[in-house]
């Protein structure tokens, strides 16, 4: 039996190594695309300044049997197929957004599942492994839903926008095939990773299992990067001749000016988003389970998910800044359409939503102090932190120009309020958002140390808190001083001051974390964590986090797509359909709400799946083997 088992294992490993080889060969080919994607067939001669010469063969080629890159056609409204009773744009909007929601979720969850599993292996604590497995269980249905919506989206685009798809295929045909192949790789890794979990854990093959998890994430990452290249191309096309026809270098089309920042922004946002959805799952289980031990488990799971969300949420604004900066760099016109045109009010809405995210996050952390022995030592800080967050939020939320009645206008004498008007400009908003981040990080720091006491006579054990306090004061002073100073300098210089403000915040985030590590090395616990001992309202804070995040993602999807205005591919391929106009914000908000309602319904289905599966398989013996978490009872 043992021999057979060994043969099986060897065979399995051989197949795996082969598949892994093919996968990474694909990935590598994307990395060295210059050769792989060089469309020699229609780029007759290589030219240093390419443009016109490379495009010319497309026009001059006499052999009609050779496929040529196409220039974007000039369409009329009648060229767009119509399905009776279906608004093409709305149909694509709904399906694309649902695909993105599930796609983001299933790309994010395996990342932190893998990290949690690794922590479990390193600490030899099976609770991490159990939790990681359960996260993956929740995500499994998401893979099917994401793929189903992806398939539907592709069909809708082919049926409703055939010329657009033909053009995109002319540029990204090879990438699309690789993209589809990557699903085979991801499916292989996902299924072996998930279904092989128990067997590999029990059989001591944890390293192989972790390697499979790495494969899931590598495949997922490549899928995301490739799909992002199409989106980035539509916003900022590259690799095209003057007539908009593809020049033959696919890498140039992929790595356009917005691809990098879009990748980073989506990657970080996906992690935060995935964390918020699993946090909602855990919150639901905390609220519905009666068993104290299970409640403790899911409270811990909720906290871990929340931690993941925070890890993504804190750096997310910086990635957003970079993306916006690159949009301005690519096209000032597009940048101003985004921030100063018809979408300007959208950023007030975004401020409200992000404010809700930060408020709910902080509230959850403050509630968490209650389940921590020793937490009461820091409860005095809640009120000042809350006040700072509220003030920062209100400053961020204040619009520059107020909409007033004639009477109000006459009373104030200006469209800008004499006092509040100062808070509406970027100088105040950059300051407010950095202070908001600092305050949230402070909440997180007091929670993470609530049940710890530094032990020893080392410098950091004795002075760590004082140094951190000094760091916060210095950082806040610097951020506010820069903010005030920026009122007195020209706009072009002012925008540059956001960089030192952001750097100051990052110094506190990184520096504060390092000091924590040094300070609490070998610390002793003040008391045990009372897992499961959380008020109901704290779990609703997690629901608020998940719903707000999802709604925000939908809204930002609208603006990201909307700044292309009446272009399928910005400046290259004009949208001449009857839907070429930019929808108003209220219309978009109602659309987003509708999509999120559909998403919530499907998420409930996704949550129900692991519950359905666990109803038959509950193994009390297995639970007994796992060390129990401290409960609040």
């Amino acid at each position: 039996m043992l021999g057979k088992k060994k043969i099986k294992t060897s065979l399995f490993r051989a197949v795996f190594v082969l598949l892994a080889f093919f996968l990474f060969a694909n990935v590598a080919s994307v990395g060295s695309v210059a050769k792989f994607f060089d469309h020699k067939a229609y780029a007759q001669e290589e030219s240093a300044d390419g443009g016109e010469e490379a495009a010319a063969p497309a026009e001059e080629a006499v052999d009609d049997n050779v496929w040529k890159p196409i220039a974007p056609p000039v369409l009329e409204a009648k060229d767009y197929p119509v399905i009776s009773g279906v608004n093409s744009r709305i149909a694509v909007w709904i399906v694309a957004q649902l695909h993105l929601f599930f796609g983001a979720f299933v790309l994010a969850v395996p990342i932190f599942v893998w990290v949690i599993e690794l922590i479990g292996v390193m600490t030899k604590d099976p609770r991490y492994d159990h939790m990681a497995h359960e996260f993956m269980k929740v995500a499994m249905t998401g893979f099917s839903l994401s793929a189903s919506f992806g398939g539907l989206l592709t069909m809708l685009l082919i049926v409703l926008y055939p010329q657009f798809m033909e053009y995109m295929v002319s540029v990204f045909g090879k990438v699309m095939i690789i993209y589809a192949l990557m699903f085979f790789a991801e499916s292989f890794f996902v299924y072996t990773y998930y279904y092989g979990w128990d067997r590999m854990t029990a059989g001591g093959n944890k390293k192989l299992h972790l390697f499979l998890g790495l494969g899931v994430n590598a495949a997922g990452l490549v899928i995301m990067l490739l799909a992002n290249s199409w989106t980035a191309f539509m916003m900022a096309p590259a690799g095209l001749g003057d007539n908009g026809a593809f020049l033959g270098d696919t890498w140039a089309a992929i790595a356009g000016p917005l691809w990098g920042p879009l990748n980073l922004h989506r990657f970080i946002a996906n992690i935060a988003y995935g964390g918020s959805i699993t946090a909602a799952y855990a919150a639901y289980k905390v609220l519905t389970t009666k068993d104290a031990r299970e409640k403790a488990h899911y409270d811990w799971m909720g906290y871990t998910s929340f931690f993941v969300t925070m890890a993504g949420l804190l750096p997310l604004p910086f990635a957003g800044y970079w993306l916006t900066k690159e949009i301005y760099g690519y096209s000032q016109q597009m940048g101003i359409t985004l921030m100063g045109g018809v979408f300007a009010w959208l950023f007030i809405i975004q401020a409200v939503l992000i404010g809700a995210l930060f408020l709910s996050s902080n509230y959850y952390l403050w509630c968490s102090l209650g389940r921590t022995n020793g937490g009461d030592r820091y409860s005095f800080m809640i009120a000042p932190i809350g006040t700072v967050i509220l003030i920062a939020f209100l400053m961020w939320f204040t619009p520059h120009t107020l909409i007033m009645s004639a009477g109000e206008l006459a009373q104030i004498g200006d469209a800008h309020h004499p006092v509040l008007g100062f808070f509406g400009v970027m100088a105040a908003k950059n300051t407010a958002v950095n202070i908001l981040l600092l305050a949230t990080f402070c909440s997180f720091q007091i929670f993470s140390r609530a049940n710890k006491k530094a032990v020893g006579d080392g410098f950091w054990q004795k002075n760590g808190t004082a140094v951190q306090t000094g760091l916060y004061i210095a950082a806040a002073t610097n951020i506010i001083a820069l903010g005030v100073y920026s009122y007195f300098i020209p706009a072009a210089v002012r925008i540059g001051l956001s960089v030192p403000q952001v750097c100051t915040t990052l110094v506190v985030l990184v520096g504060g974390t390092i000091i924590d590590v040094l300070m609490f090395k070998g610390s002793r616990e003040v008391g045990e964590m009372k897992w499961g001992n959380m008020p109901v309202r704290s779990q609703y804070a997690l629901f608020l986090l998940a719903v707000s995040f999802t709604w925000l993602m939908g809204l930002m999807g609208y603006v990201r797509s909307g700044i292309r205005q009446h272009w399928h591919v910005y400046t290259v391929f004009r949208d001449n359909s009857v839907n070429a106009f930019t929808p108003t914000l209220p219309f978009a908000a109602n659309m987003v709400t509708l999509i999120v309602i559909i998403f919530v319904a499907l998420v409930l289905f996704m949550f129900w799946m692991p519950i359905l599966a666990s109803k038959k398989k509950k193994d009390p013996a297995a639970l007994e083997e796992e060390p129990a978490l401290e409960t609040g009872n």
Binding site: Q332, Q333, W345, A492, H566, T584, A589
Partner: protein
Amino acid sequence: MRDLFPILIFSLLVMFGYAGFVTFGIPLIVPAPPPVEEKLSGDITMEQYVAIGDKIFHGKGTCTLCHNTTGHRAPILEMASSDGEPVGVRAAERIKDPRYQGEAMNGEEYLHESLVDPSAFVVAGYGKTGTNDTVSPMPSVNKGAIGLSDVEMGAVIAYLQSAAGVDITVALPTGEAPADDGEEEEVTVAANAQEAFDKFGCSACHMHPLIDEGGDIGPDLGKVGATAGSRVIGLTAEQFIAQSIIKPNAVIAEGFDADTMPDDFAESMTVSELNMLVDAVLHPDKKPDQEPDSTEGE
């Protein structure tokens, strides 16, 4: 399922709260419809050509995204400002600047060059970051997303020269005149706002102190001036009213329907008529004889 109910209600309330805030808590701004190319022939007057340039400048050309006093990301062009005289005046001086590297020989050529090759001369302080004012962030307006035709660029130049009060040197477009029925229609220019209201049939839908018997299909023009400056970020009261006349669907006042007002006044209205109407809406109590002099013939 019973456990789910409060969670679902809570989630729905959050979503509806956000949607409600967007719908009722912020002003409604209707984005402009996609621009269309102006079909021009040689059979237009210079006033009409200037009016079309005005329309392109504030619309399809997207010039005011940057060339405005709010963000001031680019030099102010239409009027005197901290950047100096209006660009129509200063254009002729630019080509004498030691930094100027272009090929223009006069003000009109300079303006044309600025539209198609904005980096030929970058005004100090307005260049791309790190380029020492050698590269302009402005796109070539005859390409890409804007894609103005030569005739449209000519209209913009005519508008900028008109706004600056200098001689309009740009030539009227030549080309096939649209087919007509053989009857010449005499174009008369309104002498004051009251005549302009009559000429363009404003009284059919609007009320105003200068209109004897107005309608209520459109907003009361005696009242809209008070809030015009705060309706759209980046547009002054004058710009907003002008936009509302030339592009009536750009922003629809609450309680009124879109697509009711004719959207071709840019073709039929002279700049002086437009200015008179804007002024009358902004200052509804001003008497007709207090109108500024017509700018005809400039």
